[in-house]
Symmetry: C2
Subunit: 190 residues, 2 copies
């Protein structure tokens, strides 16, 4: 998606060979009009999948997920992280390993909101090693639902997550794929 790539090129800050900051428009300060356009793009990419729910993880997935749900006119669910879920005991849960914080955390979704009739579109801001997506896939499996697609704002193409998810036969679409950030030079995959 050219609009997103241009924004990353203009405002993204490469802090190391694998850390890219886009917190001026995506995951701390948010440009709502850009995210609205990204939601419309995800709708176009997944419009044949019969999506009934959009699923993400708090906190940085929420803004793109809600905009995508708006484009589809379906509910958005954001999985809660352990410690922040005062959402009762009737839960699907999964463990997710965070490389950023060097530990596992638990994610939870209230059971009434996902069931075996759902065709779920996972949305997240970043895809790197794919651990967050794997946790969400585990929750979708517990619900007996189907993962009908995975929509990513920014994929780090030099990490293994995207290839692993596509190797499972999942329909993965990333609006921008970073090929490399070596020596501070950012290149996209097309």
């Amino acid at each position: 998606m050219r609009e997103l790539e241009e924004r990353i090129a203009k405002e993204g800050r490469v802090l190391s060979d694998d850390i890219l900051k886009v917190d001026s428009f995506l995951n701390h300060q948010v440009d709502p009009d850009l995210l609205h356009d990204m939601g419309e793009e995800f709708r176009r990419l997944f419009e044949k999948e019969g999506i009934t729910k959009v699923l993400t993880i708090e906190a940085s997935g929420i803004a793109p997920a809600v905009m995508t749900a708006l484009a589809f006119h379906v509910p958005c669910i954001y999985a809660k992280k352990h410690g922040s879920h005062n959402i009762g005991d009737d839960l699907y849960t999964a463990a997710v390993h965070s490389y950023t914080y060097g530990k596992d955390y638990e994610i939870a979704v209230s059971r009434p909101y996902l069931n075996s009739n759902d065709k779920v579109l996972i949305i997240d801001d970043f895809l790197a090693n794919g651990k967050a997506c794997e946790g969400l896939l585990e929750i979708i499996a517990q619900a007996g639902a189907v993962c009908a697609g995975i929509g990513i704002c920014v994929e780090k193409g030099f990490q293994e997550g995207g290839a692993a998810l596509r190797a499972k036969g999942l329909h993965v679409e990333s609006l921008a794929i970073i090929e490399s950030m070596q020596d501070g030079v950012l290149t996209f995959r097309h």
Copy 2:
């Protein structure tokens, strides 16, 4: 806002005299079309305030704040909670007391995204004791910016937060105000 009150009356679950769950449409599962309408309503209520930024706290404030920012076509900033902010060292910070979890937590906003030219609209899903809003007001003050309004989805009118903020002369608008939830019976203030 009638649409929101009707939704609370239909789907809200009163778990005690002061706990109301609205996680089927507001803060776990989210109805994006309802939140879009709420964003438009906040724009109508604050349209004379010259809003330049929308400010909230992760995670449950993000969805209504982003929809409000979309209605105003201004950036949305969500303050990060301590432990989740890998947003650098150049921060405004404030302490917020959480009654839900019985402890203080730190919120942080990256300094480049708020400055003395900003007229800030605070948006949050709930207003009860007002501690989250006080933390955001502290950050706005550190930036030398102005709080031009506070927009709340659901105010617990029987707690002190709303009255305290209005007593400071702040422009507070709540889309639904709960008068009482005693004995499981939910009544609205009009």
